[in-house]
Amino acid sequence: MDSPTLTRRTFVKTGGALIVTLSLPAWAVRGAAAAAAGNSLDPTVLASWLEIRADGTVVVRTGRAEMGVGMSAYYAQMVAEELDVRPESIQLVMGHTDETPDGGWSADFLTGAENLRKVAAYTRGALLGLAAERLGAPESALAVTDGVVSGGGGRVSYVELVAGQQLELTIPITGDLASVSADGTNIDNAFGLNVSGDPALKPVRDYKVIGRDFPMPGIPDQVTGRTVWIGDVRLPDMLHARMVRPATLGSTLVSVPELDRSRFPNAQIVTKNNLVAVVSPDEWEAVKAARAVQAETRWSSWEGLPGSDDVTAAYRTNTEPMAAGDADAVGAALAGAARTLEVTYSQQYVKHAPIGPYVAVADVGSDGTVTVHTHSANTQALRAHIAMMLETTTDKVIVRWHEGAGQYGRASLGGDGAEADAVILSQLLGKPVRVQWTLREDLAWSGASPGWVADLKAGLDAQGKLVAIQTDWYAPHQNDARMLGALLAGMPTIQPLAFVFPASFGFQPSPGGVGGDPPYAIPHQLHRAYSMQSLGQDAPSGVGLRGNIMRTPGHRQNVFALESLVNEAAAAAGADPIQYRMDHEPFPRLADLLQKTAAAAEWSPRPSPGPHARRTGSAPVSGRGIATVMRFGACWVGIAEVEVTPGSGQVRVTRFTLGVDPGKIINPRHLRRNMEGGIMMGLGEALKEEVVFDRGKVTSDNWRRYPIPTMADMPEIRLVQTSRDDAGFGGGGEAANTVPAPAIAAAVFDAIGVQPRRTPISAAYVRQLIEQA
């Protein structure tokens, strides 16, 4: 079915609700297991996306969760706008797999929002139909304000329309919920369901709620201490666990000591293969006992990593790339170019580095049912991972979502935290188990955004314009969603496919571009990606350095290289880097934003390096640089102003101007927060952050060894927001973090006349650049 139908079923004595439910897709009737796997979509229990309660509350349910970038505000705004109710009346239920209909990936806000807009529009349409009947007026004569329909000389509220009856609206959907793939090697449908059809949507010009600074509903509870965070979940009879991790990322267990019963009377050691934990009803006892056990546990040695100081050669192992572009045409264009540039860029591994280490609670019942409490950004996918690990079906697993420390994409593929540990321990012990990772464990054992190296060539014509670029990208892939606990316990995990996101290797149309457009017109392009499995994945333990996506995957890598190349080409051409971009027929929205952001930064055109550039002295020298990105319907321009102290190599960002055109802006204030937060995260990566590892293990395992930006690092920030009514909604929660690194690198070049080609741009690296210049 592909259009909504409204049926009025039972008369209910009190209250009344309009329940929007899914039309049952084919999978839901494939069999009992499949139907039950559909969460609350069991045909005998009416699932709902949306309910209008008798008190006027509108309950909205989405499998996507608040990841700390404002979705809980935006979803409420989207629904309120289409339904014509006050956003304050929206009550969101997020993430729980047993209480939400659709699953999906929390970071994929645009799809989630499209779903809820349509749900709201279908609902509004049905309510208007009822109101027309009640008021004796045609639908076209009705208007709705704050949930009250008026027309034909009368008024009736949504609540009155649904009072005393149970109304079911069935709407069309496509897609499926996450499940274990038929061959048992991967997770299918990690992106959940989509609402289909074309309900009438409100014209943008009539928006009242979208475009306003609606607050995030969870904040009052957070600031008063009422929020039940993931770390606050306590179940009856629950045990606290601390994990005892191997000596290296590849080690296997040799021996576990006896627990000193006189010191730790209530604690217990639990092992399964290479998974070792200490549990106790008392958390502090578990901590101390785990420390004692850790000191005495013996592991095999392993030295299968290259070490982070010398890692780039290890990426160049694959000789069969994925390629896009015409090699012959690019070869000819490069050969015929008036001038060519050949440069190599690289970035080190970086970490999501949440402020709170991961924690999870699991309860595995004797009947095989599993409840997992998490702050995963993809509870449906996590559910499928857990089912795969336990070799059970997804209907046996419930995942409950709670707020947690921001994780910036780390949990987008399912669970890269304590979830598997907690499930395994609960299964072994027959009790609920809470596993709290330590910061050290979180920084040393979670997945990381992999480092990479890329060789780029550019051909410039006699006027200095880019006629061809060729790029070759070498990197471990970033989709290693194998759960640590499952790996160590020797239980089934997915077998990740080693591939690089298309956006990782070039100026690709989508999601690299906006509406299928590349940012600049460069006639001949060839992009090749050489991917590989995680470093150390073949270790005896099977763990290694797992590569995971992180905020803005794809562009977080390629923007540094491609935008740096454009900046270097501009310098080679003796052109101002903004004018140089304007000369390459930028995507029109990007061109507009370049101008606006340049104006906000008081940019005066000139080529780099600057007239006062120097490489000596202990007085700081200033520089400025620019970078852009286009992603998921949004254009971004960042301008960095820095001071470099040549003598010490120290780089300080004094001002950062960031412009965005994300189409229609939903919530200017929370977009601002994402812009500010993105600048800070990008600045950290540009200047400080690097996962340091030796031949066996990550050693950057606390905040001194993995320094992230502090308030002292914050530059003056200037922001430019451009809202458009004619360009749909674009992504605002990520992408900002990609522009600081290339903009800061360009600014350092502007200041000292040497181009940084790797991150982090540490003082030692700048000194090295100066000495080699």
Partner: protein, 173 residues
């Protein structure tokens, strides 16, 4: 196990805890106060910060037994501190947040919010010492006060500065 008597958010509470138990664990597990957060557990981030006699301490590295006799305040108790300072009656007090909490809501400081309990405690500590801090004072307090900077991985530092100054104005009124 030892019997430890603490004054927390104005109430006297006696708990049975290990003599070396960190205050953070006692607050969260024995006293049901989940405002202070577990972060680094090594005095490097500020997520666990609480006030002891009005001064910020890191509850992750402070033994509960060592603060017996000091007045501990978590974000759950901030509103009551303000009500007492202002002499609000019970009805007013119930409806009033501490100006720092109100500023955090009004400015919409949190993204994930995990660090923000510690940030509000740091703000209370600062405003107690310096009721009219400049931006430079705030940067200094949040970055360079021992034992460590207050870290926000979401990068909400600009909003924190705005909120501290807003709270300062409200408290001066």
């Amino acid at each position: 196990m030892a019997s430890i008597t603490l004054t927390v958010n104005g109430a006297t509470r006696t708990v049975e805890a290990a003599a070396d138990a960190p205050l953070l664990y006692v607050l969260r597990n024995q006293l049901g106060l989940s405002g202070p957060k577990l972060g680094c557990e090594m005095a490097q981030c500020g997520a666990c910060a609480v006030l002891a006699d009005g001064e910020e301490i890191r509850s992750c590295v402070t033994r509960a037994a060592n603060v017996a006799g000091r007045s501990i305040v978590t974000i759950e108790g901030l509103a009551a501190v303000w009500a007492e300072q202002r002499g609000l009656d019970a009805t007013e007090a119930a409806a009033t947040l501490h100006p720092i909490q109100q500023a955090w809501i009004d400015v919409q400081v949190p993204q994930c919010g995990y660090c923000q309990s510690g940030m509000m405690i740091a703000a209370a500590d600062l405003l107690e010492r310096n009721p009219t801090p400049t931006e430079a004072d705030i940067r200094e307090a949040f970055s360079n006060t021992p034992p460590s900077p207050h870290l926000c991985r979401c990068g909400m530092y600009p909003a924190i500065i705005e909120a501290v100054q807003r709270a300062a104005r409200a408290m001066a009124d």
